[in-house]
């Protein structure tokens, strides 16, 4: 099949879009491995910065991972049974339950975070614990899972 002029025009356009998305990723990888970012690549390459990052931020990185895993667990426990019920009994009641449960997806995380702080922020121990962040994430994530799973089934 012969390629038309339009094929190459569209291919060129798509490649440009791809460059816009990928070039900064490549640049940040190079920057992370460069000896001195401000001097540029001629200063040589090193893995030193990865070690430095790990030394400084290992705790933070691990905490982020715990929160992500815990969010996943809570989301699955709450979301999958719900999605099963919603798929099994399609009706007005389950439709309303679904509407209610996926509502958080339509509200920006910033507004939900503010609402959570205003409601539970006065319980100091809770406010300063990682569980507080977990609740925020899980609320939005499980709304997503119930929505996705019930529309997939």
């Amino acid at each position: 099949m012969g390629r038309t002029r339009y094929f190459y025009l569209q291919l060129g356009f798509t490649l440009l879009v791809c460059a816009f998305l990928i070039l900064p990723v490549l640049m940040s990888i190079v920057a992370g491995l460069t000896e001195n970012f401000f001097v540029g690549m001629k200063s040589g390459f090193t893995l030193r910065w990865i070690g430095v990052v790990w030394e400084l931020y290992a705790q933070t990185i691990l905490r982020s991972m715990y929160i992500a895993l815990a969010t996943l667990a809570v989301t699955l426990v709450l979301g999958v049974p719900t999605a099963y019920v919603l798929a099994k009994r399609p009706g007005l009641l389950t439709r309303m339950i679904e509407e209610f449960l996926v509502l958080p997806v339509a509200i920006p995380g910033l507004a939900i975070a503010l609402a959570l702080i205003l409601t539970y922020g006065s319980f100091r121990d809770f406010r300063t614990s990682w569980v507080f962040i977990l609740v925020g994430h899980a609320r939005r994530a499980s709304a997503r899972v119930s929505g996705d799973a019930s529309s997939a089934s």
Partner: protein, 273 residues
């Protein structure tokens, strides 16, 4: 038998409903109440329109989000239909590169814009090579625009591709054999068939841009978009009632956008950020 099954099903949804009530409905109600509890009372909600500073922020957030949505739909529409229609060497690799940014949090997207248009960015290198001086716009409205495009394009491309897969090539053949040129086919056959997907993904794109915090927080130290104004009012100025009222307005805008797109296009939509 049926009653027992019903009871079991109810037990299965109960935890999600309880958590939803405690950690979403209740906080949202509290947010609405707090929004009306400041020195201004319920009039705080009107401040968004009457106060020039907040109204400007609201307006520029809406203009930015509309511009991002329109540009994303054009770019992702062209690339998405192209990728769905054609099979060529490297297509899979191209597709996985185009969807890689889906996994990036907002702050990382902000950093990517710094790579593109920051003080040592690609745009600056190119413009100084061309002798036009060092172009730096990461920390301006243009930088925000690029950042929002960056996280919107991958999502919309996927939706467009899924919709383009269902297009009937016979309709285009028919249009062509009746003498329609390529632009005519795009305008009268492809665009109408894609319109539900364009409406749905456009609404997601708009709602996400309205509420995007991470990217704005990385780039917009003094650009007044609504999420940054809310953050400043709450954290720095302790203007809690006003921050709550502004959050409610923001939430109502994103919710209404998604709900009306669903009524128009009949698909479920989700905002992120």
């Amino acid at each position: 038998m049926r009653a027992r099954e019903n009871r079991n099903l109810l037990l299965m949804v109960a935890p999600a409903i309880a958590v939803g009530a405690a950690f979403f409905l209740l906080p949202l109600a509290r947010l609405a109440v707090v929004g009306a509890s400041g020195p201004l009372g319920p009039q705080a909600y009107l401040k968004v329109v009457t106060n020039a500073q907040y109204f400007d922020a609201l307006l520029s957030t809406i203009v930015l989000s509309v511009a991002v949505t329109a540009t994303t739909l054009v770019i992702a529409g062209i690339a998405g239909v192209f990728l769905e229609r054609n099979r060529f060497l490297g297509r899979e690799a191209l597709l996985s590169m185009l969807t890689l940014p889906l996994a990036f949090p907002g702050v990382v997207v902000g950093f990517m814009v710094i790579m593109l248009a920051g003080r040592t960015g690609i745009a600056g290198e190119l413009s100084s090579l061309l002798g036009a001086g060092r172009l730096v716009f990461a920390y301006s409205m243009a930088g925000l625009f690029m950042g929002y495009l960056y996280f919107s394009i991958p999502r919309v491309i996927l939706t467009i591709m899924a919709a383009a897969e269902k297009l009937d090539p016979a309709l285009e053949e028919a249009a062509r054999s009746l003498g329609a040129g390529p632009w005519r086919v795009v305008r009268d056959v492809i665009l109408p068939a894609l319109s539900p997907a364009l409406i749905a993904s456009g609404a997601i794109c708009f709602a996400t841009s309205m509420g995007a915090f991470g990217t704005a927080f990385t780039l917009a130290t003094d650009i007044k978009v609504l999420p940054i104004v809310i953050y400043t009012e709450f954290t720095l100025l302790a203007n809690i009632a006003l921050a709550a009222a502004l959050s409610m307005v923001l939430g109502i805008i994103t919710w209404a956008t998604l709900a009306s797109s669903r009524a128009l296009a009949g698909t479920t939509a989700a905002a992120a950020g």
